[in-house]
Subunit: 453 residues, 2 copies
Amino acid sequence: MSQTPQRITPRIFKGTRDFLPAAMIPREDILETIRGAFHRYGFAPLQTPAFEYLEILTGKSGGEADKLIYNLAYKGGDELALHYDLTVPLARVVAQYPDQLPLPFRRYQIQPVWRADRPQLRQGRFREFVQCDADIVGVDSTLADAEIIALTAGVLADLGFGSDQRRFVILVNDRRLLSALTAWAGLDPQTELAKVCRCLDKYDKVGRDGVEAEFDRERVPAEAVHRLLRLFDLGEAAGGAAAAEKLAALGRYAAELRPALDELAALFAALEALGVPDERWSFTPWLARGLDYYTGPIFESVLPAKPHIGSLTGGGRYDGLVGRFAKRDLPATGTTIGIDRIFAAMEQLGMITERPSRTRVLVADFGPETRSASLRLAAELRRAGIDTEVYLEEAKLGKQFKYADRLNIPLVALIGPEEAAAGTVDLKRLADGRQVSVAAEDSVDEVRNLLAG
Amino acid sequence: MSQTPQRITPRIFKGTRDFLPAAMIPREDILETIRGAFHRYGFAPLQTPAFEYLEILTGKSGGEADKLIYNLAYKGGDELALHYDLTVPLARVVAQYPDQLPLPFRRYQIQPVWRADRPQLRQGRFREFVQCDADIVGVDSTLADAEIIALTAGVLADLGFGSDQRRFVILVNDRRLLSALTAWAGLDPQTELAKVCRCLDKYDKVGRDGVEAEFDRERVPAEAVHRLLRLFDLGEAAGGAAAAEKLAALGRYAAELRPALDELAALFAALEALGVPDERWSFTPWLARGLDYYTGPIFESVLPAKPHIGSLTGGGRYDGLVGRFAKRDLPATGTTIGIDRIFAAMEQLGMITERPSRTRVLVADFGPETRSASLRLAAELRRAGIDTEVYLEEAKLGKQFKYADRLNIPLVALIGPEEAAAGTVDLKRLADGRQVSVAAEDSVDEVRNLLAG
């Protein structure tokens, strides 16, 4: 307090963001909707520290993740870093509290994560972003995967995605099918599956011929390529009967594929029973997904009308990962809900109403004489559950109305000297200029009328 | 994936915490209640990055805050650190987006903050904790302070604090009164007010005589001490008439106190008009609060029945702080809501029901034959908005009931081969063992009955 510091230019680090109310209010609404869906599907919340021991986050061997991690410059001698995902913390928690977490553990977790990446703001890649994960740990049954897909469909439907431009499709496949196919093509899945997935993963950008060229570039033998490309022959199939037919067709290619196809058939049956509409998912046999650790069903959801946005959600089964800190392997499946992409999609589809404030009524100020009456009205509106602001100083009415207008507050309540003397309140609706005068005791009802109208 | 790392002991850094579902569910409920109150009082949400430029957080001169800060070991050359409060980010935001934030700006912000402190887990001091702040920037009127106090009362009432053991009181005072009193005692407020506040701040722990001894130790002249101690002569006063009387009594001590007393009178009048009940606040003229930066009204809320918990909320006016990055001074007032203390108090007062899950119904699994019927039931319950889990693999019924019991799931729904054939569902309520069999199409209604009963 003793020295006046030079003025410092207000700014933030590239790749991080401020969310001012106009952006934050719809984000809050979206998160609340998602949380509601998580609860309906029986998922429970978990929260873990923002920073953890470095060796927990990266494993003793360090590795790829290391480069993405923000380390802390902590003087206490402990090596600490900000978490870069929520899967590692989940794995730690499951191992750390075995007695407090009965399996299967259905948890969701909504927290920021940090990646020391080069930010690409246009493509929505940030150094700080909120991750929103739902996972089921401790069951290897396909039912768990079906629950995750049903949850995804539930979340997107609750958010308002569904038909026309807002139509979403959850693409479903299984790494075990890709693995069996790799073997059928004469390649060793142990060593070649990652490469096959990498090539297939480019389909969205380069198409079938592009994938073929990619296989060639990766020196996959022509005979194997021929068999791998059979995946594309049948096209994509919507859920339900079409998906079942395609399973049968693939089964006719080779008996080796059948065990994987049976798993998919069980998954599809569960999806139907769980009420996921056929048109909300598709069997997409070339879906591969980027990451190495998937071991079973994989899925991601897309908006056919907005392909450039990319997948809104993505996940799959990853049985090898969560047991990392435990004394035993733990099967797990789950999905990430991409809040930033969902927000971008909803904005582009006109599903977001910009709201700089939630306030429904601004009670104007007419100076000390009538202030008590104004404040009393505000208190009454709040008691009735109506989000209410009080204008906090004497000012020209024009200025107060301008404030209400800038914040999109729909109603202004006025108690000037005349109204105070008469025991009335003037209510003015900004959208159409409608103004009514009511007895003070009727103000809550009339406010509700005007807000509803 | 190629090497199997040695098992790493799962653990977290001291002073950070995991919130498992049983703790997280009531915390979520508390935060939602608080958010609801914020909206009702017209506050809008703000979110800022977890880390910022170090010079923003500490000012060019560095200073006290420096010691509390976690710096990042960032290789990009920028000096970055985790924020240690939400007030500095608020000050930055107000200066950075002047055109997007009409004043007065009423914002709330609920985010973790980090302090490289020695953690004292018993006293609830952590290295990572959630801060929950509500502030009004841009108005110097006492009305803004009254709104913050009314909001505080609203938040605590919404959480269930009120009468008997749960009674809360918001202590109110004004730094300007303490400043005028310091001057009246013959001391220079510019140089001595901080010391006077420091001594008064010990009253809770050492009482009136202890404060007197403290003044002596600080070499405050006896004549000044005599005048300063007059503060205690009148005792604490509940809100309303008693508070007004005490203002009048203080006014009779010395005319120099009157301007400050007039400000308090306006504040008290606004509290009354805003519907804050008299018994929910008290004029506590020796309330000083620890921090240096307060410039006007100060307030904190306590539970008289649980004094060891300390204050649940605390705040005041701090007109010098928010303008730090702006080209002009900006008046501001606000409060912090102490989530951890509130949670501790609610736990001790039996206001928290431990809930490891929100799920209301577990649909049991009887194997592949009846699985579709079970899943269909789950889908129907979810469509009806009932939080429902599906047991995810074939297991003995005893194991499935034990799972429901451990998660406090009140109802188990069973569709075995007989029920599936008859088109019925068995519903069993765990609390009293009541079991009913209903036609499948009536299951939603009967589930609602059993959950309500």
